[in-house]
């Protein structure tokens, strides 16, 4: 017998391999972008189109409670919405890999099991950063101006944290639905979800229980906090949720990530049933 005594790697080496494997898996997505640039382009330009549409569509008629320009109010909301759209990109990738047997192939390899997910995270976060850059450029082009650079960086941090949460939601839903019509449903249902938040309209402008719902919408904290950090009008008249926007902007994504990561792990194990 020649090579039967396999040494179990130590914790340091394991961590190193986990990182390398994740990079390798993410590199695969990057190679996809190179071969199919059209998909990347459409993904990045769709939020820009929406921004232009809403800026001109609602720009004139909307009054922001507490004063301020609607366009300045809208732009941070669109940043958040772009992060939410990421759920569908992640989902499509997961559905496709599972259908083609790639997921099973990865599962049978001696690579770090965390790397499949970590690689997905890296790739999707990278594409979101790219998309966000394009969107910011578009926002600057229509006349929006952020406040200081330090707080802008913090805003980006909060946005990416939210993207992470939606990434996990995407992984879970991708494992759940397994076909394109499921992706379509999620893609469309994002809209009512967004309208029930403060992305387009200030929560305080909504009637009674709806205002509460919009304030506590998982993205609402991020929207308000990003508006504050970027010096945009928040349009919100107070209330616990608004006052603790930054706390919510951190807490919601963390809770969502934990919940959906746990659900995904369970779902993943169910694949083995």
């Amino acid at each position: 017998m020649t090579a039967t005594t396999l040494q179990e790697p130590g914790p340091v080496e394991r961590a190193r391999w986990a990182a390398t494997d994740a990079l390798t898996v993410a590199g695969r997505d990057v190679a996809h972008w190179r071969r199919r640039p059209g998909a990347v382009l459409v993904g990045a330009l769709f939020p820009v189109l929406l921004l232009l549409m809403f800026a001109y569509l609602l720009g004139g008629g909307m009054v922001v409670p507490g004063g301020g320009d609607y366009r300045d109010f809208l732009v941070p909301g669109m940043f958040v919405l772009a992060m939410v759209f990421g759920v569908e990109a992640t989902m499509t990738a997961v559905v496709t890999d599972t259908a083609r047997g790639i997921t099973d192939r990865f599962r049978s390899l001696p690579m770090a099991p965390s790397a499949v997910v970590a690689g997905r995270c890296l790739a999707d976060m990278a594409s979101s950063v790219l998309g966000l850059t394009v969107l910011v450029a578009a926002a600057l082009a229509v006349g929006w101006r952020p406040a200081g650079p330090g707080s802008a960086l913090a805003a980006v941090g909060l946005l990416l944290l939210l993207r992470l949460a939606f990434l996990w939601i995407g992984i879970y839903l991708g494992l759940l639905v397994r076909d394109p019509s499921g992706v379509m449903a999620v893609q469309i249902l994002v809209w009512p979800f967004a309208f029930l938040s403060n992305v387009f309209v200030a929560a305080s402008a909504l009637p009674g229980w709806l205002a509460t719902l919009a304030e506590w919408n998982p993205v609402a904290g991020t929207v308000t906090a990003v508006r504050e950090l970027l010096g945009s009008p928040t349009g919100d008249g107070g209330g616990w949720a608004t006052e603790h926007a930054t706390l919510l902007a951190v807490a919601w994504p963390v809770v969502l990530t934990v919940v959906f990561a746990a659900l995904s792990v369970r779902r993943f194990q169910r694949l083995s049933a």
């Binding site: 017998m1 020649t2 090579a3 039967t4 396999l6 179990e8 391999w17 390398t20 494997d21 390798t24 898996v25 590199g27 695969r28 190679a31 996809h32 071969r35 199919r36 083609r100 047997g101 790639i102 099973d104 192939r105 990865f106 599962r107 049978s108 390899l109 001696p110 690579m111 099991p113 790397a115 194990q269 694949l271 083995s272 049933a273």
Partner: protein, 321 residues
């Protein structure tokens, strides 16, 4: 000394349906075991359990002494899998796929590239490395998938119908690759519908039917259990086949001849003893003036044994009119 692969009391249910029912199997280090059985007998499920893709409902499954349920990661480090459906990335080029999988086996960049080129050559895909897999035909995809499973010589290689859809040359390439791995100490479990493949490669054969092991042994043992040897001869003049069969039967004397085949000139006769039978038959035919093209004394083929074991040798249903 433990076995390289050991299944004990393996049981798996999907809802009410029992797919694997108390399956025991042991494969020694460096051996090749072929898992045979009709479509839907549970072969793929057994493969999935062994490769940690599916959890069993009962029993113990060990690979190189590692429990696959309790230590799936450690088990995966010892297993290579080539599944039934090609699992390669369509968007990437063929070589990019292999480099990706080589990198995930922790080869460095240079070694991964070199290994990818070697593998493309080995599975008969040289010069196609830059082509996106989306443009590949079914057979080419299959070859690439096999290459992806051979990146590193694993301790235990599991192949689920590896040559399905491959042409005869491709089949030989795969057999050569498997033999080379076995020579290097790898243990192999393969499922196949192609019994010649089992005869070519396997030291041991295990037949599953309805989720149970219905027969096990070396190909030789299985065929011997079904009944002795066969004398096969091809006569030059097909019109004298029947006469030759009668003569051979009288000389070999172990039951009625199994008749002529589609071409009409091949005669198969069961024989009771090996010694001298070829000579005796040839002499008898020669005296009768019947010229012979081929004469082979061969054991019962695995095909014949298999059909008998799964009890379906008479499964010839009526033909739709």
């Amino acid at each position: 000394m433990t076995s390289a692969i050991s299944l004990r009391g393996l049981t798996k249910r999907y809802g009410e349906k029992v797919v694997l029912d108390d399956v025991d199997l042991a494969v020694g280090h460096g051996a090749v075991c072929a898992l045979l059985g009709p479509n839907g007998a549970g072969k793929t499920t057994a493969v999935r359990v062994l490769t940690t893709l599916t959890r069993p409902d009962g029993g113990r499954v060990e690979v190189a002494g590692v429990d696959v349920v309790r230590h799936p990661r450690a088990a995966r480090r010892r297993i290579g899998l080539i599944g039934q459906q090609p699992a390669v990335d369509d968007v990437l080029a063929a070589r990019e796929n292999l480099v990706l999988f080589a990198r995930l086996h922790h080869l460095d960049r240079r070694a991964a590239g070199a290994r990818a080129d070697e593998l493309l050559e080995q599975v008969g895909l040289p010069g196609t490395g830059a082509q996106p897999v989306a443009e590949f035909s079914g057979g080419m995809r299959r070859r690439l998938d096999i290459a992806a499973g051979l990146v590193l010589a694993p301790l235990v290689l599991v192949l689920d119908e590896p040559t399905t859809g491959l042409d005869p040359a491709g089949r030989r390439d795969v057999w050569d690759a498997v033999r080379a791995l076995v020579a290097g100490g790898t243990t192999v479990l393969l499922t196949t519908q192609y019994l010649e493949e089992a005869e070519q490669l396997a030291d041991d054969v295990c037949v599953l039917d309805g989720g149970r092991v219905v027969a096990r042994g070396t190909p030789r043992e299985l065929t011997a259990a079904i009944g002795g040897d066969r004398l096969e001869l091809v006569v030059t003049d097909p019109s004298r086949a029947a006469e030759a069969a009668l003569l051979a039967e009288r000389v070999a004397a172990a039951g009625a001849p199994e008749g002529a085949d589609a071409g009409g000139e091949r005669v198969v006769v069961p024989v009771s003893r090996r010694a001298g039978v070829v000579g005796a038959v040839v002499r008898a035919l020669d005296e009768a003036g019947i010229a012979v093209d081929d004469v082979v004394l061969r054991p019962t083929t695995l095909d014949e044994a298999y059909l008998r074991i799964t009890g379906r040798d008479r499964a010839r249903t009526e033909v739709p009119a």
